[in-house]
């Protein structure tokens, strides 16, 4: 479904992503973990078209994405839950959810999807007419996910959705992701919380600073790699605790 080859992303002289190769198959839950500044967010921003790559290709369902605008990419069915939630704090919760359907032409479909979001996220339904800025961090994260889902994405990208959340909310976010995966959604999750990501995802890519993939595999395969636990999972565990 998504095929990234030889991707290079630079900010001036600083290379954020280098020779990145990554695959996401339909219905798969793929994780991308790495230290802060490894190039994970740059990768997602390049997929959604807000960052132009220096070279390389991003192919989605056979079409090249690197020449398309963010709007065209969104219309192809790729939706992003950005880092820091970036919900519209002055719009109501309902408006935040509804604006996610802006990309769709079927009004009835949007209405149905909005209704489904109210059922899926009861905490949002309760605060439907409140402004987004009044929600707690965990609620805002659920709102950001609901907003992305209303667009009816075929591929859902999430950038550090558990960042800054309390452990209970981290559990809730991973529970939502598990549910979405079980429904057959294709997910690419970028996270610093390596342990939880590796446990939840079908496959995980481990990125090192400079944006190159260091390890890649299923939870079982990654656990068999020497020093991996100490270098990534252990550290991530400490951070969470």
């Amino acid at each position: 479904m998504l095929r990234i080859d030889d991707l290079m992303v630079s900010y001036g002289r600083v290379r954020a992503v280098s020779k990145l190769a990554l695959r996401v198959n339909e219905g798969e839950f793929v994780g991308l973990v790495g230290h802060n500044g490894a190039g994970k967010t740059s990768t997602l921003m390049t997929i959604v078209g807000t960052q132009r790559p220096a070279s390389g290709s991003i192919e989605y369902e056979g079409d090249e994405l690197t020449t398309l605008s963010p709007d065209q990419i969104l219309r192809k069915g790729i939706s992003l839950v950005p880092e820091g939630r970036r919900i519209f704090s002055r719009l109501t919760v309902g408006e935040n959810v509804r604006i996610g359907g802006k990309v769709r032409s079927d009004r009835d479909g949007v209405d149905e999807e909005v209704e489904r979001m109210r059922e899926r996220f009861p905490v949002l339904a309760e605060k439907w007419d409140r402004s987004g800025g009044e929600l707690s961090g965990g609620e805002q994260q659920q709102l950001a996910i609901a907003r992305a889902l209303v667009s009816g994405p075929k591929l859902l990208l999430l950038d550090e959705p558990t960042l800054g959340l309390a452990p209970l909310m981290v559990d809730r976010v991973f529970e939502i992701l598990r549910e979405l995966h079980e429904e057959g959604r294709t997910i690419l999750l970028v996270e610093q919380n390596a342990k939880r990501t590796i446990e939840s995802a079908d496959r995980t890519y481990v990125m090192r600073t400079g944006g190159q993939i260091q390890f890649h595999g299923t939870a079982k395969e990654l656990s068999e790699i020497g020093n991996f636990d100490t270098a990534y999972i252990g550290m991530a565990q400490e951070r969470v605790e």
Binding site: D71, E139, S151, A166, L168
Partner: protein, 313 residues
Amino acid sequence: MIGAITFQVGVDAISFGALFAVMALGLALLFGVMRLMNFAYGELIMVGGYTMYFTQDLGVIPMVIITIGVVVLTSVLMELIAFRPVRHAAPLTLLITSFAISFGLQQVAFMTVSKGQGKGVSPYPWLTDQHEVIGVRLSNLDIITVIIAIGLLVGMTMLLRRTTIGMQLRASTEDYQMAQLVGVRGNRVISFAFAITGFLAAAVCLLFVLRTGALSATMGITPLLIAFVGGAIGGLGSLTGAALGGFTLGFLINAIQASLPVDLSSYTLVFAFLFVIAILVVAPNGLIDLIHRGRSKLRAVRSRPTEAQEEPA
């Protein structure tokens, strides 16, 4: 008697405040969507003024319609020709572009329409007819100003709150990039914002010129300054804030002018700007920020016993 005078001052202040609120709203709309402080806003008013001059013989209604059309078109063309090519440039580039348009249009006006004898729009006697309502003297123009200003504020609020394009505008005002990432079409929203700004500038122009009658190439500077200062004290990042700031400034200037002794009345703006400085000291991010923080604190106090276990956003 004193009560009637106070009431008169209050009514005048509300009339001015409402008009200033509309001015600030036009400027804040573009600032919110593009982070653009459009110093050419005043020239939209000037363009409207001269359109009124050239169309005044056609009658009031054709003059109003043509003026609105010309100013809206000028505003949209301003975006298409001058701002769109530099939209992704640094904010300073946008600012300099707006200065360039402002000075450019002023110079064009100096060389063409404002050349020679001073021009003006003839007053309409029926507009200055006065009525006495419970001891307060009101001209038709005062009544029309308040009705139009309130109508525009209500209309803008409805447009922003109740329509899809309004929702997209509010989202773009807050986070333009994120709005694009959820499918809001940037070009469409920005063109729409410029059209609305043009409409507001046309309304301000009509009400101003019908009051003063005088035209000049630099006539837009004063409304621009009012819109800028009003927006700053209210909070330019928020449309409600800007309208509130514009209203506060208009109210202040009018109320101070009426309260000062005659020999001090020329210092009205000095006192008004002292108030503005005081407001900015108390609320450096604008009155709307102060209100939001007050509300949040109140809500926090109310919800303390049932506070959720998780951290706030």
